[in-house]
Symmetry: C2
Subunit: 415 residues, 2 copies
């Protein structure tokens, strides 16, 4: 068993996954603070905070943070999602101590300087506008908002320009001190790392971080909805979705297999029917996302404005058919795809580091490969059809960007 | 030395890079046939051919190709570039034989069925339109065209709708038989693979493939140019570029270091000056591309329409400054970044497989890690300034999408 977990006195969980065959380490701090933990007046604060962490500490300027990592060829990065924020780095094994020191510094000693904040707010507004210029990116924000209307789960990760510009340094500090608490965080490292040594590094750096004060989390309630916006584009960009399943749902792996055989990979039904047999889209795929209390199942397609009328009935038919019957060959294939994907991801320190951290945040412990494989092996045709019925009987969510007439042509997807 | 090369009697080069620590294999066939080998009437044929390879053979339908790989959880993919096309797969080690059999089948026995072709032409047109809807993607096609006007090196990989629709099955077969010749190809595998066994697999599958008939390659001649197009966008998307260096140029590694310290990574000058100190862009980065006979150095920025007037003088100043002086710290940092990136890429079978194949196509042999590191260690401040002077004294290329007034504001970048 290469995975080991230690919980520090303050509740911070420390996990390592040691790989004998590599000379590098992937390390990161995962924090259960994301868009869904925000209040309406500061939507975007989790992501802005992630940016500001890199903008200087009591010991390092923003430039020094960048230079110290680049000096050793390390790669430092971060992202924010609906339910968490992660700060992570990859480096040669001898530089792990430096990476932990920098991660601790930016998470514990950030100055949140006012001038830096003003500049970074402008950078985030540029990021919002860049996303808006990219239809197959921004469409997923509109989709999320339509699926979860008027609740934090539906808000965009990047926030809105006026709200981002309105966040003060003081507000950032308050948000950080209430959400970046020890028992709300996981420190994870994979690759050429020793568990005991990593625990000591994390203990020295984060041992004095307090436990959490109460963090509020508004329950996510999938409702479904309809967002269509006219835009002068070559293609119409469509996301059709349904309420999905939370982590830990007994049908979680059946749903994964459903998405695999319906819309992931070249042999999937949607790829075969929409792209291969009819040439109606370059890009068509399904995705299943899970959160602690809800989930989202989505199908993306980009197609020509004039192809919408052909695409809609095909999509409707596939959603009907998969509820009625799934072949034994398809089930076997989906199992093989999920298992091989898992085994391949085990060869990358970065994947293992992220997997361990997320499993601890979701399930409170790392899952073993054997137990995941057992669950994938238990997936079967009845279970997949049952979960398809469960998912597709709910209210749909539609989001689309394109010409007016094409947008109208999508109407029947809502019935 | 983990890398071994065998050349078959027909000239096909076979390379393996064995890794003891993994259970998977990455395998692929690289073909020296890309956009630059096309004629004007069929621009896009290399990429269309790549699509058609997956559309059925004498032994397998398109659906069967997809199913056989997905049955074992393998991942089969392909891409086309200006100078080559690659077909590659990743799978568990016991499925290498199947992967080679499928790769050989799609490259040697493709039927190029007329009906499949008509559908796939429509899919490629959807892909062209999807790219056109994505400003920070399509801008690089306009940039390439402006840099290399009226020559194959400047044409888009995807081609143009009318040309793609005009390609016949017969034309595809002719293009394939003249370009997909044994001594024009490299078979590469990395990971849990035995050299002798892989050579036998490739010999059995590709041993009868003829040597090349003459393939024409029009020399790439960088000329520079100006493409600006009005679009209703939130941001202005800009690429400024210059003629770069071919593979094998004595200053190749100095140019790589120049790009690293000027515009790659968080500590780079452009990131620090444009994003960190002034907040003028979310995304700003430089790239150096090399071909057999020419090269392209480019800087991308996405910025607000109203920020152009502030950005232009900063960019001009940085291009001036880097020709005059580079600090010893910057040189050390660039070396460390390039070397650590190289060492990290060695842990992935996919990266090693692609690296070996490309090195053989470019240099005729695989490079050792030691010789690459020696060249990176030889990089120095004088060399970097010299190559910066060499690059930036040439005629610039500008490509931009945005509002009219902002586009006008870019004019001084051309002087």
């Amino acid at each position: 068993m290469s995975v080991q977990v230690t919980t520090l006195a303050n509740g911070l969980r420390v996990v390592t996954d040691t790989m004998d065959s590599v000379e590098t380490v992937a390390v990161g701090i995962w924090v259960a603070a994301g868009t869904r933990h925000e209040t309406a007046d500061v939507n975007g604060i989790s992501h802005l905070l992630e940016h500001m962490a890199f903008k200087g500490t009591q010991r390092r300027t923003a430039q020094l943070i960048a230079e110290e990592m680049d000096n050793v060829g390390g790669q430092l990065n971060a992202y924010t999602s609906r339910d968490h924020t992660a700060y992570y780095a990859k480096m040669l094994k001898e530089d792990l101590g430096l990476a932990v020191d920098i991660l601790a510094d930016i998470l514990l000693n950030s100055t949140m300087d006012e001038e830096e904040l003003a500049r970074e707010q402008h950078v985030v507004v540029q990021e919002i506008n860049q996303a808006d210029d990219t239809p197959d990116d921004i469409i997923f924000d509109h989709f999320q908002a339509a699926a979860f209307p008027e609740q934090p789960m539906g808000w965009p990760v990047l926030g809105r320009e006026d709200l981002v510009r309105g966040v003060t340094s003081q507000r950032l500090r308050t948000y950080m001190s209430s959400n970046y608490a020890a028992d709300n965080m996981v420190a994870s490292a994979s690759g050429a790392v020793d568990h005991g040594a990593f625990v000591r590094l994390i203990e020295n750096a984060f041992g004095n971080l307090p436990r959490r004060s109460a963090v509020s989390e508004v329950a996510g309630r999938y409702q479904g909805g309809d967002f269509r916006q006219e835009r002068d584009l070559e293609q119409i960009h469509v996301v059709l979705g349904f309420g999905g399943l939370p982590h830990g749902d007994p049908d979680f792996y059946n749903l994964g297999a459903l998405s695999t055989l319906l819309g992931e990979g070249m042999s999937s039904r949607l790829f075969q029917e929409i792209r291969e047999k009819r040439g109606l889209a370059y890009s068509v795929f399904s995705t299943s996302q899970s959160f602690s209390d809800t989930g989202l199942f989505s199908i993306y397609m980009g197609t020509g404005q004039s192809d919408v009328q052909k695409l809609v009935p095909v999509l409707r038919a596939e959603i009907e058919k998969v509820q009625a019957k799934v072949s034994e060959d398809e089930v076997k294939r989906a199992r093989a795809q999920i298992k091989a994907g898992l085994l391949m991801s085990l060869e990358s320190p970065g994947s293992r580091c992220a997997q361990s951290a997320r499993q601890i945040m979701v399930y409170g412990r790392p899952l073993t490969v054997a137990e995941i494989i057992a669950k994938v092996d238990a997936v079967n045709a009845d279970g997949i059809c049952r979960v398809a019925q469960r998912i597709f009987s709910g209210k749909p969510t539609l989001a689309a960007l394109g010409e007016g007439k094409s947008l109208d042509g999508l109407q029947s997807l809502l019935n």
